[in-house]
């Protein structure tokens, strides 16, 4: 037994934690202010406060940016290194975009701005913790803190059955995933005797053999739990349903931020804590990557709901990202980080356009809502076009560079065939990405959706007559900005590369 007197208060680096405080604090403030009624508070003040919190967090993150230096705060439970900061930045940007996209969303009228944005900020806090987690406990806390608000947000459009269904599905399947993860963490802890990533890494090979069944079973369970969060097949099935059912701004947030957070912790856990058993887990993850790429792309082809299509495409993209993890190299880490950033931009642009359209179109989020958009509203059509081209990996968009980087990492990490799988996946994906473009620009034509007969899609978030494209400038702005960034980074990617290189320095164990 350890005598009580010997317990030292943990060393806490408040400077490093500042971004987290900003979001948690912001979350609380927003909750409280949101209790006040009034149009001004709901429509202006609360969003402004939330945005301010995120902006502050961004500022603090930038201030903390110090490549090569890993600040172990709270006794090493959290690492504020470049990986964590970089991904936090992505969460904050995604959060800002979501705030803009939620401004006129029906869900806000239903739940109130305070709850909506408060939960959003809470989820972001969880992501920040997750991205920096260097300990099994913080890992779990982070994951739950990010998930639980999202369960609520998904179900928050109480007036719509599919939203509730999505929420409950997400909750149940998510909890199974969490429980699995927890059990895996317990096994890893039991095998290595440590909850610390550093301790686990040290324990492997010393206290426990590389081929220890307990350890590897734990790894398998952890992989399952995290793969679930990252929507890796065969744990992807919640994704299309939840994405479709959730309010669209939340879908967009989940698509980009949750995925980034999940990959953050996958990178940390596998490429840091479990780096020594890479030879064991890499083939399994590679197989999952292939499966994910194939299933994701196959599923996306026959979708007429844009949100569902993007969900499936998100599954496929998770497969690409996994390739960066599999190789277990610094290059892989950099490529993954790079692609996550790019992925955020592409998806935000796409979702922004979907949101703008579903609010005014009788077709809701069905692909037909985009018909002839090129003529009617080029300001929306161009961002969507760019987003689709980028997702498909066309050059002069950041999507191309991102894929290039990933394939580069795969080939250099002696997984050349995985690089080719990425390419094969991209080929299949052309079918559905190009269809979207065709619908927007090529006038009337019959949309062939090969399998299931098209299902009548109800307008997801209701649509108000006053909300046409011109009446929602913030949505258009988000779309245009994200698309522009996609193109600019496709031509001048160096800034993002610099960041990615800094991120690469965070996990020192990698070569």
């Amino acid at each position: 037994m350890i005598p009580l007197a010997e317990i030292q208060p943990p060393v806490i680096d408040y400077g490093g934690l500042a971004p987290l405080f900003a979001t948690i604090g912001g979350s609380l403030v927003v909750f409280l202010v949101g209790l006040l009624g009034g149009r001004f508070v709901q429509r202006t003040l609360v969003p402004l406060l939330a945005a301010a919190a995120l902006l502050a967090a961004i500022g603090l993150t930038v201030a903390n940016w110090d490549p090569g230096d890993t600040k172990p705060i709270i006794e090493g439970a959290l690492a504020i290194d470049t990986l964590a900061l970089f991904l936090s930045m992505l969460f904050f940007v995604a959060g800002l975009a979501t705030i803009a996209l939620s401004l006129r969303a029906p869900v806000v009228r239903e739940t109130g701005s305070g709850e909506h944005l408060g939960l959003l900020l809470g989820s972001i806090s969880g992501m920040v913790i997750l991205a920096g987690a260097e300990n099994l406990v913080t890992l779990f806390v982070g994951i739950e803190l990010l998930s639980i608000p999202l369960y609520v947000l998904c179900a928050s459009e109480l007036g719509r059955a599919s939203s509730l269904e999505a929420g409950l599905k997400y909750l149940v399947v998510g909890s199974v995933g969490s429980a699995t993860l927890l059990y895996g963490l317990a096994l890893v802890y039991g095998a290595t005797g440590s909850t610390d990533f550093a301790g686990i890494a040290k324990g492997i090979g010393t206290t426990v053999g590389v081929g220890d069944p307990l350890l590897l079973t734990g790894v398998a369970l952890c992989a399952t739990g995290l793969a679930f969060k990252a929507s890796v097949a065969p744990f992807h099935q919640w994704t299309p349903d939840v994405y479709q059912g959730a309010p669209t701004p939340i879908t967009s947030f989940m698509a980009v931020a949750t995925k980034a957070a999940a990959f953050a912790i996958i990178l940390r856990l596998f490429d840091h804590a479990l780096a020594d058993v890479q030879a064991e887990w890499a083939p399994a993850l590679a197989a999952l990557a292939v499966l994910t790429i194939l299933i994701g792309n196959a599923g996306a082809i026959a979708q007429s709901s844009l949100k569902r299509m993007l969900a499936w495409s998100g599954v496929a993209q998770a497969g690409y990202l996994l390739a960066g993890v599999v190789v277990g190299t610094r290059l892989g880490l950099q490529a993954t980080a790079f692609y996550l950033a790019v992925y955020l931009l592409m998806n935000v642009a796409a979702f922004a356009v979907v949101i703008a359209r579903e609010r005014v179109s009788e077709h809701g989020d069905d692909i037909r809502s985009l018909q002839d958009l090129g003529r009617a509203s080029p300001l929306l059509a161009w961002p969507m076009t760019i987003a689709m081209l980028a997702l498909a990996g066309f050059p002069a968009t950041a999507g191309f560079i991102g894929k290039f980087y990933l394939i580069d990492a795969a080939v250099a990490g002696e997984y050349a065939w995985l690089g080719i799988m990425i390419v094969v996946g991209s080929m299949i994906s052309l079918v559905y990405y190009l269809r979207v473009i065709a619908v927007m620009w090529m006038g009337q034509f019959a949309i062939e959706l090969p399998t299931f007969p098209p299902r009548r899609v109800k307008p997801v978030s209701g649509w108000s007559p006053e909300a046409d494209a011109r009446a929602q400038p913030e949505v258009v702005a988000v779309a245009v900005l994200a698309a522009a960034a996609t193109v600019v980074l496709g031509i001048v990617p160096s800034p993002l590369f610099d960041l990615a290189r800094d991120v690469g320095s965070s996990l020192s164990a990698l070569v």
Binding site: F404, D408, I420, L434, M442, G443, F445, P493
Partner: protein
């Protein structure tokens, strides 16, 4: 000394297209035409100024683009791409002019896409960095996707989707191949995609082979060669004429150009290894394309299948792995571009008069349109490689190159020459001769159409009279490209020695050489 010339050439159309997109359509379309003419002027000046005795690159631009990935913004001109650039410039000038006179539906977007496409194609021709080449190679599909899908005829969306997916499948495979090439060739993470550097970093024969297949997939689809031509029929039917002109004339050349520029020098052992396979594909394409061209009723498809045959000849020349063959192939690329461009314009004119693309509905046009008939005749004779046409010089070089080592294949291929006579003369006869169809309305060529078609014809005739103007300038470059593959022994990693051999005449290796 680095120059900015090529950057101007490449990006001038795009810039003009972008500006034109924000100008009134009336002004904008002529701005784009002016830009394409400007590029043409530049290209002609380059031909005049070109130093034919040097095998090296001229007008080089070389900057780091994405240094993290070792991608350089490297442009250059040598004998290999000089005339292809000129061809591109000429055809785009003709096609945009043609389009400027006609397009009524969303003209600004159309012109923007045309300009964008020219930039991409020129970029692919100029690129001296593999990754940059891939970028432009993929990029060029975007404007074509819009052009075919937005302004096409018939089942245009299906056609454009098929076209884009087909070609992108190829180019994505090439992307993987290119990255693998850069990564595997680079010692210790020293990533470089510069063609000159890659040529000096030979890979093992086994690695070369699978990378070769990836590249071949891209280039053969683009060409297209049998049996990868599944996109051709739909696309050629649906594509609007000015787009079809540049599509079949310039775009299809990028692929075969890639063989000469990239595959032969960088993957010499694999080129040697797959020589027979490629030659067989080429020969089959020649025969198959010819026979199908012969049995088509639709004018566009006759030319489509004839293109397959012609591209078969080009690939045959390249994979004869002889200097003569490659030289002929290069020349044939330009010639085919010229004739096929002119042919499609003529077919457009014919279609307008017959009210149908079916040959059965044309006929007797020569009666009221002698000028059209004369131009068509010249073009048709050039297409079937009549001696005295530039195509003849090219085909005789290709055949001579093939005969040297692969006499039997060469003999089979020469049957294609005779078949070409059958389908081209048939096309000419069915449209211009015989009784006039009651539904057709024969009418002479308009002055503006003449202004588009006649210059192409003049260039064809001029090249036929004096082909040496091209051969002079392309000789050195082609020779140096074929050399490594020609000397590589099958299956052995002799590529290690090949680059050291150097071109004949004691020139430097085919690296970046800057002309003052």
């Amino acid at each position: 000394m680095f120059t900015i010339h090529l950057s101007i050439v490449v990006f001038l159309p795009f810039a003009a297209g972008l500006i034109a997109a924000f100008l009134p359509a009336r002004v904008g379309r002529w701005l784009v035409v002016a830009a394409t003419l400007g590029v043409l002027g530049y290209a002609i000046a380059m031909i005049a100024d070109f130093d034919g005795d040097s095998g090296g690159l001229q007008y080089v631009t070389d900057d780091a683009w994405i240094s993290e990935l070792g991608i350089r913004y490297q442009l250059g001109v040598d004998g290999l791409n000089l005339f292809l650039i000129a061809l591109t410039a000429l055809l785009w000038a003709a096609a945009t002019l043609w389009a400027a006179l006609r397009t009524e539906d969303r003209p600004r977007l159309f012109m923007f896409n045309m300009a964008f496409a020219e930039t991409a194609v020129l970029g692919a021709f100029c690129a001296q960095d593999l990754a940059l080449f891939v970028v432009f190679f993929d990029l060029m599909l975007v404007p074509f996707y819009f052009l075919i899908g937005g302004w096409g005829e018939g089942d245009r969306v299906r056609a454009t989707t098929r076209f884009t997916i087909y070609t992108l499948v190829g180019s994505l495979l090439m992307l993987a191949g290119a990255i693998a090439l850069g990564v595997l060739a680079g010692p210790g993470g020293d990533l470089s995609f510069s063609l000159a550097v890659l040529a000096e970093r030979p890979l093992e024969a086994g690695t070369q082979q699978w990378i070769f297949l990836l590249f071949a997939a891209a280039f053969l689809v683009k060409a297209p060669l049998f049996p990868l031509h599944g996109w051709v029929v739909d696309t050629y039917r649906a594509t609007p004429i000015p787009v079809l002109v540049v599509l079949s004339a310039a775009l299809s050349k990028v692929g075969v150009y890639g063989f000469l520029r990239i595959v032969l020098p960088i993957l010499p052992d694999a080129s040697q290894h797959f020589q027979d396979l490629m030659i067989i594909l080429a020969v089959v394409s020649i025969l198959y394309g010819s026979v199908l061209a012969f049995s088509q009723d639709e004018a566009r498809l006759v030319v489509a299948y004839s293109s397959i045959a012609q591209l078969g000849f080009i690939v045959l020349g390249i994979f004869s792995l002889s200097e003569l063959g490659s030289q002929g192939a290069l020349m044939q690329m330009v010639n085919h571009g010229l004739v096929v461009g002119a042919l499609f314009f003529i077919i457009a004119v014919l279609t307008a008069r017959a009210g149908s693309t079916s040959l059965a509905r044309m006929g007797g046009m020569a009666l009221r349109a002698p000028v059209l008939a004369a131009l068509f005749l010249v073009v048709a004779l050039a297409t079937l490689a009549m001696p005295g046409s530039p195509n003849f010089v090219a085909e005789i070089l290709i055949l001579f190159g093939t005969f040297e080592d692969k006499l039997v294949y060469g003999l089979v291929a020469s049957a294609g020459v005779a078949l070409a006579a059958v389908y081209m003369i048939r096309l000419f006869q069915r449209s211009m001769h015989n009784r006039t169809e009651p539904s057709a309305e024969p009418r002479e060529l308009g002055g503006l159409d003449l202004a588009v078609i006649a210059p192409l014809t003049v260039v064809i005739v001029a090249l036929g009279v004096y082909p040496q103007v091209m051969l002079d300038r392309t000789d050195e470059a082609t020779t140096s490209k074929v050399e490594a593959a020609a000397t590589a022994a099958d299956g052995s990693p002799s590529a290690a020695e090949a680059p050291q051999a150097g071109p004949p005449g004691g020139g430097a290796p085919p690296g970046v050489q800057v002309q003052p």
